[in-house]
Subunit: 232 residues, 2 copies
């Protein structure tokens, strides 16, 4: 019997590479989808930057995944591709940054949903990346918040009967993740209020392996205080 | 003193053309933005179908609007461009229809928000088009519901301090509008539960001219029962 498969979308990024490492430790075959390869994954699908539209990217990725899986199913799809953009409607690059947020967060989540409809096993788990601040209005980061709100709605729809996805679907809604990039950008911040990447990934692994711990359709807000992290 | 300006985005469509007509009756100078011209408008900006990306469309429209306005302000921007797509994550054209919904609903709303930040007067009104069903999950029309949920979030953000938009911002969330297209598509439906286009447009005009009647940031659900329409 061969090892089960998982797909990590964004597996070359900060959170995604930690997910790749953890699933490898647990003997999964990991398919990474990102702009660049991750040598720790069993398979990396590097999406060429020449593919700019959602349809082109989706078709490219769907083909590669089908060839790798060869009719086998995946246990989990963890979509943590993304990026942050600030700015309000009066910002010079409002349209450009909103467009980037749609591409980074919405389009990747749609592609992950499409892969889930095709390849996720009925006991499997689809995880999409939202953001806790987008549960309210976000006047200082309008495009980003809007894109994450779209992802939240997608989680809700995908978890409902008739969505075309068999398996559980959840959203992870961090406030601030403790990444090297965030430490460089905000060196004076209180890191004990940031969420460690391993904490997020271990929770996802627990949801996958202990289904009763995970409520499908739920948007899990992730808050950290005094180095203690809550998912609720 | 010259007549005040309004912009109708989607002013060649079913709801938009009724809006153009009403604003003309009330002596406004109407700028229509759509894929085709509307001869009833004072100015029509026909967006060439060759402009496929958000950035290209936005730049094209922003230039034309700036030339027409020549530093004058607009009293209202009514964005009612859009379209409906069904389908779940297992549909053959899931990605294509989600992409179309983003372009039709999200991109047009972002462009309208950008125009509002540049040209709306502080007592003015920005109206964006959401959808009542998207207040919940929409497993049978996943991309459409997601796009409308993004528009709802955009309304919330734009109405908050620091959004870059001066003036009021509201969402209109119909269930089913009484259009010729809908009558053709659903000839056996109960038309007395559909909302007449003039009712929606007259309400928008009332919000514009009687600001106390309109709560900025609100997502107005529009329901019609026995030919009686409620905005709440």
């Amino acid at each position: 019997m061969s090892s089960p498969f998982v797909i990590v979308y964004g597996g070359s990024g900060a959170l995604g590479s930690v997910a790749v490492r953890l699933f490898k430790q647990h003997m999964y075959q990991v398919i990474n989808i990102d702009l660049s390869s991750n040598a720790s994954a069993d398979h990396s699908i590097a999406v060429p930057s020449s593919l700019q539209t959602l349809s082109e990217q989706s078709a490219f990725i769907a083909d590669k995944v089908s060839v790798i899986l060869n009719n086998r199913k995946v246990d989990a799809i963890v979509s943590v591709a993304g990026g942050w953009q600030g700015g309000n409607a009066a910002s010079d690059d409002f349209i450009g940054s909103a467009d980037k947020s749609i591409k980074q967060s919405v389009n990747t989540s749609l592609i992950a949903a499409n892969l889930a409809a095709r390849h996720l096993c009925p006991s499997g788990l689809l995880v999409l990346a939202g953001a806790a601040p987008a549960l309210k209005g976000t006047p200082g980061m309008i495009g980003y918040g809007m894109a994450k709100a779209a992802v939240h709605h997608l989680v809700t729809s995908l978890a409902m009967p008739g969505s075309g996805v068999n398996g559980r679907v959840v959203g992870i809604l961090p406030v601030t993740l403790d990444t090297e990039e965030n430490r460089s950008a905000m060196p004076a911040a209180d890191f004990s209020s940031w969420t460690p990447l391993t904490t997020v990934v271990e929770k996802i692994y627990m949801w996958l392996t202990s289904p009763a711990e995970c409520e499908s359709g739920k948007l899990y807000t992730i808050t950290t205080e005094n180095s203690l992290t809550k998912f609720e």
